[in-house]
């Protein structure tokens, strides 16, 4: 369907090329520090939570729904895991499935309200997310809870493969699963149809409501998994920190949709987008720029990448 001409390939790999150009630029400026394996292991190992939140967001986005509650699912599950483990001394073998089940339940509630009452998912998940934040502050007494079992940290950031913390491989594993699901399963195709046109999907026999509900549940489970990793990364649960993941995750999901499979939310695009942003911020820190420059980069890179992608593709209207 797509022409395999140069401009399409440029569009597909534009972000990767810009990413490599950034690596070359930072490498040329600080070769002794930036171009070291320890620095790349830091880059890859530090944003697994953001990758997973982005992947989680992507599923309802593909079905045409927004899940603004995902960051609060991260925070609530992170807090729940910390309280059950550190304060109530329950075994992790019980705590972790409970955390994932909590994420699934919240996804189910999001989906049920959206579908039964026919309210836009943006409003429902915004409300549910705010409600969840209230619960997090309540159960955690607005405090950071520490003292989580070291074994959780061990299996998130301490254990390393090729020098990179193991959380990175969890994120990549999930990206492979989601890529497979979207590309090779009936559910993946139904998700795409649902997102492209609900009426058309319904007329072609797709159970649109069921597909949207499952998308919300999957998003909840991935948010919960990210929450568990967050607790494992910091060894504690902070009642508000997950909140700050929402905008970067949306930025990465939209930025990711400009590459690899342009015009579609896709897992590899999302992964590349996250690491492109992280590389830029890491490089600026290594070069000694002040922290406000990171905001300039985050916002500037997003707008610029989307503009370039549109120019390369001949400024056609986006379906997203």
């Amino acid at each position: 369907m797509h022409k395999s001409d140069l401009s399409y390939q440029l569009e597909r790999f534009g972000l990767v090329i810009v990413w490599l150009a950034f690596i070359a630029l930072f490498g040329a400026l600080r070769p002794d520090t930036f171009l070291t394996w320890s620095n790349f292991s830091t880059i890859f190992g530090s944003e697994a939570v953001l990758v997973i939140v982005t992947l989680g967001l992507m599923i309802p986005l593909t079905a045409g729904d927004f899940d603004l509650s995902i960051a609060q699912i991260v925070t609530l599950v992170s807090m729940t895991v910390a309280i059950l483990d550190a304060r109530m001394d329950l075994p992790l073998a019980l705590v972790l499935p409970l955390g994932l089940a909590l994420g699934a339940l919240i996804g189910l509630i999001n989906g049920a309200i959206t579908l039964y009452f026919r309210v836009h998912s943006l409003i429902v998940t915004l409300g549910v997310g705010t409600f969840l934040h209230g619960i997090t502050l309540w159960i955690g007494n607005s405090q950071t809870i520490s003292g989580v079992s070291p074994i959780l940290m061990e299996w998130v950031i301490i254990q390393r493969v090729l020098g990179v913390p193991i959380a990175f491989y969890y994120a990549i594993g999930l990206a492979i699963l989601i890529w497979y699901m979207l590309s090779y399963t009936a559910f993946g195709q139904q998700l795409l149809f649902t997102g492209r046109g609900r009426e058309v999907g319904r007329l072609t026999g797709v159970a649109v409501d069921r597909v949207r509900l499952v998308a919300f549940v999957l998003s909840g489970v991935l948010g919960a998994f990210a929450g568990i990793l967050y607790t494992g990364t910091t060894g504690s649960a902070n009642p508000s920190s997950g909140t700050f993941l929402l905008l970067p995750a949306f930025a990465a999901a939209f930025l990711g949709s400009t590459c690899i499979r342009p015009g579609r939310f896709n897992p590899w695009g999302s992964v590349i987008a996250v690491y492109f942003l992280v590389t830029g911020i890491n490089g600026l820190s290594v070069l000694g720029f002040r922290t406000f420059v990171q905001d300039l980069f985050y916002g500037g890179a997003l707008v610029l990448a989307v503009m370039i992608s549109q120019l390369v593709s001949g400024r056609k209207d986006r379906g997203l």
Binding site: S41, Q143, I158, G235, N238, G283, S285
Partner: protein, 368 residues
């Protein structure tokens, strides 16, 4: 003969006293250790002023406390402590519950002005620079406005307030630097994280830089991360700095709640054995991190002591006594050696002894 011994004793004491500063200059680690040891034990009570009859002069008077945010346990605990003390002393004390929004602080100021309160206490971060007109309006209505636990001793009260009860933040800054100097044998290479918008930051940084100035082989870099960006900026910033400067041996987040973003950055960078964390505030979860070894040292203040000290200063203002600027709230250094004294999980008011409880009651002329 006895006279001669006495004379020799005096001479040697004088010689030792004059040698101490020289020793401090020659050996920065030894000088720093003197400071650390002075703040490692259970603190003593130092009266902030002369005794007075609190019950008599506070009869019929009232104080409204506007906390920076009632949702922050550190601040809420202090405000609740003031409530309990006012009840014990028999006068009216109320809290203007809020969630840290300056609009809510302004509502609190208006409430105080319209309801005949004698003092409004802006507690632990409710910054009057955000609502100067309302401060003037309350003062015009006869309400005295006090900032409590907001600035260091060197900083004057902001926005024309009537009094400013301060904390020795500069000493806290010195202690953080001194700790790292003692632990590295005066070869510190520190990354210091600050948030410039907080009024206490200036004093903390002044203390840090003053202490490091006495250590010729110590280097440091100060990085500002605004409070709203802690969750997103601290981790990548610390990771980047640890890569750019592999000789860093200490990260000093000047507010200990930053630690939850600093410690993963150190772990991900694979530097848990070489980079340590020294910090300030005594927040319970960070004291727990000191117990498990993730954070090496945390300087704390007793929240109940703060409640006593702030109320004492506010009562003195109402009673027409000499205003108190130096609250004399002590600091204590918590490390692996004494962390068992704070409870498990840590309690914000444990580990400081209870000398202040009796001390303040004697000062106020009441017996418990």
């Amino acid at each position: 003969m006895t006279k001669m011994f006495k004379g020799m004793g005096l001479v040697s004491a004088l010689m030792m006293a004059s040698a101490l500063p020289a020793l401090a200059q020659d050996d920065p680690a030894a000088a720093a250790m003197v400071n650390i040891e002075a703040y490692s034990g259970i603190p003593e009570f130092t009266p902030p002023g002369d005794p007075f009859d609190a019950r008599a002069c506070m009869e019929g008077k009232s104080i409204l406390t506007v906390p920076a945010s009632s949702a922050i346990p550190f601040i809420k605990t202090i405000a609740d402590g003031k409530d309990a003390l006012a009840k014990e002393l028999g006068f009216k004390h109320a809290q203007w519950e809020n969630q840290g929004n300056p609009t809510q602080w302004i509502q609190g100021m208006n409430y105080a002005a319209n309801n005949g309160f004698d003092v409004v206490s802006l507690l632990a971060g409710a910054d009057p620079r955000f609502f100067e007109p309302q401060v003037k309006m309350a003062q015009a209505a006869g309400v005295k406005v006090v900032t409590s636990h907001l600035t260091g001793l060197e900083i004057p009260g902001p926005a024309g307030v009537d009094a400013n009860t301060a904390i020795d933040y500069k000493q806290a800054g010195k202690l953080m630097a001194d700790w790292t100097i003692t632990q590295t044998d005066a070869k510190v290479n520190a990354l210091i994280l600050v948030s410039n918008e907080a009024l206490s930051t200036d004093s903390l940084v002044e203390g840090l830089t003053e202490a490091f100035a006495k250590c010729p082989d110590c280097t440091y870099e100060i990085v500002n991360v605004p409070i709203v960006d802690w969750a997103t900026r601290i981790q990548p910033t610390v990771q980047g700095k640890l890569q750019a400067n592999p000789d860093i041996n200490y990260v000093i987040p000047i507010y200990d709640s930053m630690s939850s973003f600093v410690t993963p950055a150190i772990a991900i960078s694979g530097k848990r054995d070489t980079v340590k964390v020294a910090t300030f505030n005594g927040t319970p979860f960070v004291l727990d991190l000191v117990r498990d070894g993730t954070v090496e040292m945390d300087i704390g203040e007793n929240l109940d002591w703060i409640a006593h000290a702030m109320l004492d200063a506010e009562m003195r203002l109402i009673c027409g006594l000499e205003p108190v600027t130096d609250s004399k709230v002590p600091l204590r250094v918590f490390s692996a050696e004494n962390i068992s004294e704070v409870g498990d999980p840590a309690d914000a008011s444990k580990g400081y002894g209870d000398a202040y409880v009796e001390g303040y009651r004697k000062l106020w002329n009441v017996t418990k």
